[in-house]
């Protein structure tokens, strides 16, 4: 132990708060509905995100039905198929994953993990959720307007996004863009809270380098999202004006149905730059919180401190910074200066270095650990495997020469589902199984959980592994019906049918999960305050679930980092962050 100012502890008064400073809900409505408590807002965010996620899940079933058994389901025509892929992608990436990681996990965990009573601007935080809900409702409404939702693909590329050949050209695209604009406004309100809470509301002794990696991940992802979402905002506003007022920001001169349109001279490439300036950081906005959560799950359930904590922090920051200079690797086939392609391929491959550091550190944390194969641990291991998998195909696609033939094939679909579909959702599930006992005070059912894990994990691989192969065969993405094609053998169609069946099974496993969430709320085993024996601060609250103000009268004082597991000579195999050093405990000011 180095330079520890032990004697200063006498000068540390417990951080008591006056009664007036705590937020007190006055009625049932302000306690559970219009609540300003970050924990309630987190649950609201999570439930809304999972509800809309179920819609996207059903859409993926419909798509798989069509792909696996083309021509069998007469109610899915080409237009609807395009609408399904668009809404599935948009919902999963933005309204489910972004909202769940930052709005759900962020709201719940940041104040508890850094030892704060709540977010610093609770009212703005509440508004953030209601604006998000409005964005979701606007999105859902597109299913019921004339013409249905937009079918432009989740990237909404002009000019086709607002031309009459694309489904949802009437109302779908307008409401989609409006919903995105609302989402960004709502997110900005929440994001300001997360950042300022981490900066300002940490409890005594909680230095940045003592924060759990979950907080580091969510914090960095929030900063990135705050800077990147404006790009989507700008693109959405300009596309909306092109659609509504007939401006030509993005719309080139073109002929539609034999007639010259009112547009002229605009640049579709400009849209792509703006979209991907948001779109690439978005990948890491989803991945960084997952990285953080996985680090904490692995350390806790392997009863071992995280390997290379400093490197983990630096890697998170480095990934966050680098992800802003790689966006054009999504545009290799859009036509660009070859030197640009070279530049963006290089930066893309450089990101593999900090990412690989993280993977090595996870593996080294597991090395000779006391691995408990609990459900959160299973999901964490699945995350690592899946992320490595998706990352490796990312190296393929990051190279211009390999990307060009693979572009717009199922290979790309398989890659991004592995890396930002399956992997983050594994982190989400792991996180939910891990923190559910803190949120509700009860454990999730073990048997149902294991069933859910194995079906989801193996099923997801059954869907997406063969998809790589289909992509290498040259099977294009976004096609409603491949039909008879010379280079696609009949066996590929059988494979497609197999994948569809697997997808249906994986989807049903999620219903088991939802059932488990509800059933365990009432019938689950009592969890107690710290069922996993975890060291980080959120498990040390005086009550479980934590009450208003989180910490009772006094804020905790932090004496150590969040990963003191299996410390030699310690009484237990973990030392909570707020436990004073051994020499101090007799006169310690705090338990």
């Amino acid at each position: 132990m180095v330079d520890v100012p032990y004697d200063t502890i006498a000068g540390v008064p417990p951080a008591e708060v006056a009664e007036v400073e705590l937020y007190h809900p006055k009625s049932w409505w302000t306690r559970y509905v219009f609540s300003q408590d970050a924990k309630v807002i987190a649950v609201q965010y999570s439930i809304t995100a999972m509800a809309i996620g179920m819609v996207a899940l059903v859409l993926s079933w419909l798509m798989r039905l069509q792909l696996g058994f083309p021509g069998t389901f007469s109610f899915i025509d080409a237009n609807q198929y395009l609408q399904f892929i668009t809404m599935h992608g948009m919902i999963m990436v933005i309204y489910l994953l972004t909202a769940l990681f930052l709005g759900g996990f962020g709201n719940y965990l940041i104040p508890l993990m850094v030892g704060a009573r709540d977010m610093v601007f609770p009212y703005v935080n509440m508004l953030s959720y209601w604006v998000y809900l409005l964005a979701v409702l606007v999105l859902v409404s597109t299913f019921f307007v004339p013409g249905g939702p937009t079918g432009a693909g989740w990237t909404l590329y002009p000019p086709q996004a607002i031309l009459s050949g694309t489904p949802g050209q009437d109302w779908g695209i307008i409401l989609m863009l409006a919903s995105l604009i609302l989402f960004i406004i709502g997110f900005t309100m929440g994001g300001l809270n997360y950042v300022v809470t981490v900066l300002q509301a940490r409890t005594r002794g909680m230095t940045l380098m003592r924060m759990p990696l979950t907080v580091w991940g969510i914090f960095t992802a929030t900063v990135m999202a705050l800077l990147a979402f404006p790009a989507l905002f700008v693109a959405s506003v300009m596309l909306l004006l092109d659609r509504l007022l007939g401006t030509s920001f993005f719309m080139p001169t073109l002929v539609e149905m034999g007639e010259l349109t009112k547009y002229g001279g605009g640049s579709p490439i400009l849209f792509q730059h703006l979209f991907w300036f948001f779109g690439h950081p978005e990948v890491y906005i989803v991945a960084l919180p997952a990285f953080g959560i996985i680090s904490d799950l692995i350390s806790t359930h392997a009863r071992k401190n995280i390997f290379g904590y400093r490197m983990m922090v630096w890697a998170i920051v480095a990934i966050g910074a680098l992800s802003f200079v790689v966006w054009a690797h999504h545009m290799y086939v859009s036509g660009m200066n070859p030197y640009f392609g070279f530049f963006f391929a290089t930066t893309t491959l450089i990101i593999a270095i900090p990412t690989a550091i993280k993977v090595y550190n996870w593996v080294l944390t597991l090395w000779r650990g006391d691995i408990h194969l609990t459900i959160p641990m299973l999901f964490a291991l699945a995350f690592i495997i899946t992320f490595v998998n998706g990352g490796l195909t990312g190296l393929f696609l990051g190279n211009v020469v390999v990307d060009v033939p693979l572009s717009d094939t199922m290979f790309v679909v398989a890659h991004f589902h592995m890396v930002m579909g399956i992997a983050p959702i594994m982190a989400v599930f792991g996180g939910i199984y891990h923190w559910y006992p803190k949120v509700t005070g009860r454990m999730l059912n073990e048997a149902l959980g294991r069933f859910h894990f194995w079906v989801t994990f193996l099923g997801a691989y059954a869907v997406f592994f063969p998809m790589h192969y289909l992509g290498l065969l040259g099977m294009p993405r976004r096609y409603h019906d491949i039909g008879e094609t010379a280079f696609i053998p009949a066996s590929a169609h059988d494979l497609n049918a197999f994948m569809s069946v697997a997808a249906l099974i994986v989807g049903f496993a999620q219903l088991v999960f939802i059932f488990n969430l509800i059933w365990s709320l009432f019938k689950g085993k009592e969890a107690g305050g710290n069922p996993w024996g975890a060291a980080s601060l959120e498990w040390q609250t005086p009550e479980t679930p934590p009450g208003h103000g989180n910490w009772g009268k006094e804020l905790p004082i932090v004496y150590r980092w969040a990963y003191d597991y299996s410390v030699p000579g310690a009484a237990r195999d973990f030392v909570p962050q707020n436990e004073p050093p051994a020499k101090l405990s007799p006169q310690g000011a705090h338990p």
Partner: protein, 234 residues
């Protein structure tokens, strides 16, 4: 995209400077016991609000940097016809400068505890800002009357769009300013008023700065600069 890259580089420099103060080379696994960081002395709620505003300004700055990027990319296309800048904009700029000066004056008065001057300063600032917005609307009408419609040329579209976004941000600021004025009239304590007035003044200076940059862009003064930036990156 050069404008937004420059902006992000600026943000990265600030973030890097801040991180360099945070003992990121610490070895937390060795450091048991109480460690204080600098923040603990200043962890008041007004400090949190100020940092919150700072982060928000970074978001707004990113938004405008992206508009500027889009503008500089689109203006290179062949159909771009720069529109004449109404003389009214110069008057508006002057009014916005006055507005900013008045709020700065109010802030200085708040530090002295001179609440009457604060009230005068805030009301003057607010009135000037409203005048600016009305002036912008009149400028729109002049352009419209002269046949420069939103959709007739991308230069026009950008002019209307960028001035509208800037105006909306100013209107948001006016809401905060109105609440501050109400606070002063209700006779709130000096420290709270001072914090609110400071936030308003910072926001106003920022919007003034953004407006000057936008004005340079819309009048074409910065074309040379934009060209240099573009050559740097291509």
């Amino acid at each position: 995209m050069s404008a937004v890259i420059l902006f992000m580089a600026g943000i990265a420099a600030i973030a890097g400077w801040w991180l360099s103060q945070q003992r990121l080379t610490a070895k937390p696994w060795l450091e048991e016991g109480v460690i204080f960081d600098l923040r603990e002395e200043s962890g008041s709620s007004s400090q949190a609000a100020k940092i919150g505003l700072g982060v928000f300004l970074a978001v707004v700055g990113s938004l405008f940097a992206l508009f500027i990027s889009a503008y500089s990319m689109r203006m290179n296309m062949v159909d771009w016809r720069t529109l004449p800048v109404p003389a009214l904009l110069w008057f508006n700029t002057g009014v916005l400068v006055l507005s900013s000066v008045a709020l700065q004056w109010a802030y200085m008065a708040a530090r002295r505890g001179d609440m009457d001057s604060v009230s005068v300063g805030l009301c003057t600032g607010g009135a000037c800002a409203v005048t600016f917005l009305v002036g912008q609307l009149l400028a729109w009408r002049q352009l419209n009357a002269a046949g420069y419609f939103v959709a007739s040329n991308p230069a026009n579209s950008f002019f209307y769009l960028i001035t509208a976004v800037h105006g909306l941000h100013l209107m948001g600021g006016l809401v905060a300013l109105g609440r501050t004025i109400a606070k002063v009239w209700r006779g709130a304590e000096v420290a709270k008023v001072r914090a609110s007035v400071e936030l308003c003044a910072i926001y106003w200076h920022f919007l003034l700065l953004v407006w000057l940059v936008l004005l340079g862009l819309l009048t074409g003064w910065t074309d040379n600069f934009v060209d240099i930036c573009r050559q740097l990156l291509s």
